[in-house]
């Protein structure tokens, strides 16, 4: 159902930051499409509550490139356009590189990086035709500072930042902006495995003295996709309470 309202596609919108972004875009009167591997209670609630064609979800595995392209095509047909893409889907991958299984390395690269490239490729085609668009890649402070045990994760997130800068130059002439948001540690499923002591240690090292709230990270994304950021492209906005400064 093509619509006049703007449309945001958020990958990995079934939980955590992705779910927060989905809610935020719906509150801002966007049509929203999201994909995830499984249907969570959040998605079920959204599908129940947003019946008027403004919310679309599909079960898609980010490693399936054809399914990603088909999803973008479906969103274009159903919602009529794609104004915003947020490459949010990702998996945490911790471990010392030298003892990590190759299959884990490949999976992290496929989910965190290749899926984002394929989604961006497909969405950018629609944006090129529209002559406008905004892409935000969810990076990480691990792309900026080295930490033991996250070499693969850091590599994928730093690659996203590289993509951000190059694509900003590539697509800028067609009025498509590309930026990254690099969150520090925030309350989400990705830190749920951390011991309380570990979280407190991070909070102590953070100038603002705590982990971020999820809405504080989402706000940065909403800012970058708003008119207020209309002259910002190719940048990485670090939202980390100062831990990398």
């Amino acid at each position: 159902m093509p619509q006049s309202r703007k449309v945001a596609l958020v990958s990995g919108g079934s939980r955590g930051l992705g779910a927060e972004l989905v809610s935020g875009f719906l509150d801002r009167r966007y049509g929203v499409a999201t994909l995830s591997r499984t249907k969570t209670p959040f998605i079920t609630d959204m599908l129940r509550a947003r019946r008027r064609g403004h919310f679309h979800w599909s079960a898609v595995d980010g490693r399936d490139h054809e399914a990603l392209r088909a999803f973008v095509k479906e969103v274009g047909e159903r919602l009529g356009r794609i104004d915003v893409l947020v490459n949010n889907a990702g998996i945490a991958m911790e471990g010392i590189l030298s003892t990590m299984r190759t299959s884990e390395i490949v999976e992290a690269v496929q989910v965190n990086l290749t899926a984002a490239l394929v989604l961006t490729q497909a969405c950018s085609r629609l944006m090129l035709r529209q002559g406008s668009g905004c892409i935000v890649n969810i990076s990480s402070v691990n792309a900026i500072r080295g930490h033991s045990g996250v070499a693969v994760y850091s590599a994928t997130k730093a690659a996203l930042d590289g993509m951000t800068r190059s694509l900003a130059r590539e697509l800028g002439p067609r009025k498509i902006r590309v930026n990254s948001v690099a969150p520090g540690y925030f309350d989400s499923d990705m830190v749920s495995h951390m011991a309380e002591e570990q979280k407190q240690r991070i909070a102590r090292r953070t100038p603002l003295g705590r982990l971020a709230r999820i809405d504080e990270v989402a706000s940065a994304v909403h800012f970058l996709t708003s008119e207020q950021a209309s002259f910002i492209t190719g940048q990485t906005l670090v939202v980390d309470g100062g831990i990398t400064c």
Partner: protein, 118 residues
Amino acid sequence: MLTAPTLAQIESIVHARIRAVLAERAGEVGRLSGADKLSATLGLSSLDLAFLVADLEAELGVDPFAKLVSITSVRSVDDLVRAYQQAFFPELQLRGEDDAVAAAVKRAHTRRARRERS
């Protein structure tokens, strides 16, 4: 496009889309020649070409550059036309190996299209 277009229709659509891109940039557009180089003669940038491919995918429903043809092999208007013709008529891929055979296939398609129109 619901039914497969003819070779002539594909050529006409590709030419029309190229002209549209050129018109957006420079206004009036003269006649296109198949030998015109997209970059050197017509002044199209890589991004213009990307826009063109996105536009043609929307119009024709195919993207020959996803798997079939490398975009770096496309230099002229004819190269671009041929890429889309190959997407609909895979037998035209013979062209690289045997131009004469491919040209004969193309002529046969043109004749068939002409017969269908009359």
